[in-house]
Amino acid sequence: MKIIDVIKVASRSLTSNKLRSMLTMLGIIIGVAAVIIMIAVSSGTETAIANQINSLGANLVFVMSSFSQGGAGGGMATSSGGLVYSDADAIANSVPHVAGVAVEQTTTQTIKYGNIVLEDVSILGTTPDFTKVREIEVEEGRFLNDQELERSTRTAILGATIAKELFGDTYPIGQKISVGTLKLTVVGVFEEKGLVSGVDYDARVYVPITLVFDKLMNSQFSRIAGDRVRMIYVTVDDKENIDDVILQINLLLSKLHDVPLESPDFQISTQQDIIQTQSATTESFRILLAWVAGVSLIVGGIGIMNIMLVSVTERTREIGIRQAVGATPQDIQSQFLTEALILSLVGGLTGIIFGISGSWVFSRFGDMPTVVDPISIVLAFGSAAAVGILFGYLPANKAAKLDPIVALRHE
């Protein structure tokens, strides 16, 4: 039998029972659409996270305090270790290709304005370069200046959410708020930045880092710790120089801290590292989703097999007639295999259409970033075809094995 005839016969018997064919395809349609949407949502989320992280400063290198593993040369002083304020100056002055440096030390305080009290607010001590390095803009007023840093002036710049909570409609600039035991003057309010890798940039209060050192670290330990900082942000002039800068900072700080290179009391990472850590978490989520989608494809395949088995039984007599006029077992097998394949391929194509439009609906109305991956389309369509052949084989084989006389006598 010619291929074209096989396809004609198969599609004809499928269209003669449209509702059933449609319901049979539904499983594959849902499976394929699910694969595409799930991959689109997870890669969309990943891209969005990467964009967000990149939006907080380009070519950024993060130097974080970490407790040394007790290197050979390290005594008490270094092993309790970490970064100090002067490290930032050292980096700015002696590492080439550095475009900007900002430091950060955080503490948690209760803040008040009038009768509004906000507890456990994150207070971030930093330097005037912060806005440049982290690419965040002041919307009202201004950011810290060098003078305020030097004199640890009692000034504060508020995150957008904090400003709204404290002041509502009142103009915040020039107002005084209490932070812990201090009274600070508000000189600026930041633009909204949102939640980026778990940090709410809008729910923080920014003050001169010197103020944190002098007045806001109230425990005995912290006072001894002195001008310790949590983090130094370094902007590199060009992407290509990032590795070089990391190496230079490593060398410089190990020497300054008197710790061995292989077990430093600080940790250097880049945005790329952070994006990768984030990806690792979405990756496992994505694998889970892929499994769920894959299982639904298999369920769809079982649906096809089920209906094809019913169909073989129902059409036993037709099979007998075809055999009587000369259809070989192979002809019969091809016919039923083709039916299963058409069901799964048409289902697959419909699923792709639903998957793509579904992804679009998610990003348009569901506020979920989606990126439709062409690979996911190929993958989904390929697995639909595989499912068709795999689950069509058993019914087709059953049909081909029928004895012509038994089949003719059926009913």
Binding site: M1, K2, I4, D5, V9, R12, S16, R317, E318, G320, I321, R322, Q323, A324, V325, G326, A327, T328, P329, Q330, D331, P404, I405, L408
Partner: protein, 235 residues
């Protein structure tokens, strides 16, 4: 009439295995049928007529014995080879017509051509030939009717056209008039006579004496054996 042999069987046996029990349906049937003969097979119910026809029609294989169809030993062929023989050399007419329900008359008639290597693919030629055959059996005005829109006699005529489409060397009919009233039965017999006249070899099973007596030769079967082979057309 030529001397060319179309069917030669030698001690055909068919034993059905029903669990532990062996049911012998054919106990050694040896017959020879020449090209151009019109043969009726008669016998009581359960005597093995259909079993014999199924083997002659290559729908089944004998348990033992030889069957030469058109000089080819077909008793040991596999299922695919038998399918090709059925397609190329045989035309089968059943008591219950066995047309495909959702297909038109012309589509039913072309069905064997779709499985024919030489003919498949040429839709125009196939349809032309089918329409011609439907004209010959008197259904030229019903070619697009589905079986459910045709009477029993008309359906059987479609089945005859289908049996002829691949130009078989042998036409087999198992009680072709069994489901029909006498008027339709006579129409079918007229068609078979015409086919015989034009040189076809026909083997037909029937229960009815007056129908059997219209042929030239009656083979009586009883208990899986040839009881009588009357070449005069009279029992």
């Amino acid at each position: 009439m030529t001397d060319s042999v179309i069917i030669r069987t030698d001690q055909l046996k068919k034993i059905y295995q029903m669990g532990e029990v062996e049911v012998p349906a054919l106990n050694g049937v040896s017959i020879t049928i020449q090209e151009g003969e019109f043969v009726a097979i008669m016998g009581p119910s359960g005597s093995g007529k259909s079993t014999l026809m199924n083997i002659l029609g290559c729908l089944d294989s004998p348990t033992d014995g030889q069957y030469y169809l058109d000089d080819q030993d077909v008793s040991k062929l596999n299922r695919a080879q038998l399918a090709h023989i059925r397609n190329e050399k045989l035309g089968f007419i059943f008591q219950s017509y066995n047309l495909l329900p959702r297909m038109s008359a012309v589509e039913n008639v072309t069905l064997p051509m779709m499985y024919n290597k030489a003919a498949a693919g040429n839709q125009v030629e196939m349809t032309e030939k089918a329409e011609e055959l439907l004209g010959i059996v008197g259904l030229g005005d019903r070619i697009h009717h589905q079986p459910k829109e045709l009477s029993g006699g008309q359906q059987q005529r479609v089945a005859i056209a289908r049996a002829l489409i691949n130009d078989p060397v042998l036409v087999l009919a198992d009680e072709p008039t069994g489901n029909l009233d006498s008027k339709s039965a006579n129409e079918i017999m007229d068609i078979l006579h015409n086919l015989h006249q034009s040189g076809r070899t026909i083997v037909m099973v029937t229960h009815e004496h007056d129908i059997a007596e219209q042929t030239q030769r009656i083979i009586a079967v009883r208990d899986g054996l040839v009881e009588l082979d009357n070449k005069n057309g009279r029992m």
